[in-house]
């Protein structure tokens, strides 16, 4: 095994660059090193001006999403040896404005987040019980998968619709709405319907399916969206057939 590998990193420094450029770094190639370890090597020993986000380095905080050899990946879960012989191309996540180097701007997602009401909506007349709400393991399995999203934004980077249509709520957010809709303790599905079944909600999705392939945590947002379309269509039909109100 050769002992080094080249990493081509996209640089963009807004106070001096008009457009991104590529900078090549030669780094040691070690079998236990991820792309993140490689970037840390550069930051610590070669070039302290390189900027990127990282924190937990164990695939759970969702900070280090990047485009690695063309695919949206978590840098802490992508091993250098899987990208031999290199050079490994490291770019910021696609579909997001770049703040600097590998750091992208996530404000759009953060601002949209509350619109999906990603919290448990309960019957306000009834106070919660003294004990827990009962929920069987089977009921939990209904939404469990959708609760595993770490907000790493890889699905947004993989989604061509989000690239073309900034108003699209996007995969993770709709999966999150579904996570609460399918929770047996929740009664907020009606409140979320208006936002999620709007044109920029599920109907913007044309089912490319790349979001589910990109997801590092097996959330399957594409599936969540398709399921929601069925629900939304049923609701629309019902309100057409029974125009005098629900039920």
């Amino acid at each position: 095994m050769p002992d080094t590998i080249a990493v081509d990193v996209t640089r963009y420094r807004p106070d001096r660059d008009d457009r991104p450029t590529t900078q090549r770094y030669e780094i040691p190639l070690r079998k236990e090193w991820t792309v993140l370890d490689g970037l840390n090597y550069v930051k610590d020993r070669v070039d302290g001006t390189l900027s990127y986000r990282w924190s937990c380095r164990m695939g759970i905080c969702g900070s280090c999403g990047m485009t690695i050899d063309g695919d949206p990946k978590l840098a802490c879960e992508t091993f250098l040896t899987d990208h031999r012989p290199g050079p490994v191309r490291v770019e910021p996540l696609h579909n997001f404005p770049v703040i600097r180097d590998l750091v992208v701007e996530l404000t759009d997602f953060m601002a949209k987040l509350p619109r999906a009401k990603p919290w448990l909506v309960t019957d306000s007349d009834k106070p919660p019980p003294d004990a827990e709400y009962r929920q069987t393991p089977a009921e939990m399995d209904e939404y469990k998968q959708y609760s595993m999203c770490i907000n790493c934004m890889l699905c947004y980077a993989a989604c061509p619709v989000y690239g073309l249509e900034r108003d699209f709520l996007g995969p993770a957010l709709i999966a999150l709405a579904q996570r609460y809709n399918l929770d047996s303790r929740d009664h907020g599905a009606d409140e979320r319907l208006e936002v999620v079944s709007a044109p920029e909600g599920v109907w913007d999705c044309t089912f490319v399916g790349e979001c589910s392939r990109a997801c590092p945590k097996g959330v399957d947002p594409a599936g969540a969206i398709q399921r929601y379309k069925v629900t939304a269509a049923k609701e629309t039909l019902r309100s057409l057939l029974l125009p005098w109100g629900r039920r």
């Binding site: 963009y12 807004p14 106070d15 457009r19 991104p20 063309g70 696609h94 579909n95 404005p97 770049v98 703040i99 701007e105 404000t107 953060m110 601002a111 509350p114 089977a138 061509p160 690239g163 073309l164 044309t206 089912f207 490319v208 399916g209 790349e210 392939r213 399957d220 594409a222 599936g223 398709q226 399921r227 379309k229 069925v230």
Partner: protein
């Protein structure tokens, strides 16, 4: 609501290139599927024309058959057939993700959902074939 306090200075925004759908096989597959709906529509129009011709008597029907045999119509129909099949197949493969069925509390596996779709498709085709032939 949450207030955002960011200063929007020189963010670099990339434009999505016109040929973005050539970047990945899955993007291409997706664009082809979107495009295939035009041919699905064409198949419907063709069927309506056929029905109209049959209803208008043998002479009309004969001229419709002659028109259908024209090379360009044949070509269009061949392409339409391929794309309609493509459309159907991708649609059926998606079905298990959109449709969550439960039998006695257990989720029906994706393969079974897709399999049922294909089975139903084959059955309907067979019935149609039996009526026509």
């Amino acid at each position: 609501m949450t207030e955002y306090t960011g200063l929007y200075q020189r963010l670099y925004r990339t434009r999505v290139p016109i040929l973005w759908w050539l970047r990945r096989r899955s993007y291409l597959a997706f664009v082809v599927r979107e495009l295939s709906s035009v041919f699905v529509a064409w198949a419907v129009v063709f069927l309506l024309l056929l029905a109209h011709a049959v209803a208008s008597g043998p002479r009309q029907y004969q001229s419709f058959l002659a028109w259908s045999a024209a090379p360009w119509v044949l070509t269009v129909n061949a392409v339409a057939l391929a794309l309609v099949v493509y459309h159907a197949v991708t649609w059926f493969n998606v079905a298990p993700q959109a449709l969550v069925l439960r039998v006695r509390g257990r989720r029906v596996p994706a393969r079974v959902v897709a399999g049922l779709h294909y089975g139903l498709w084959a059955l309907v085709s067979a019935v149609v074939a039996w009526i026509v032939i």
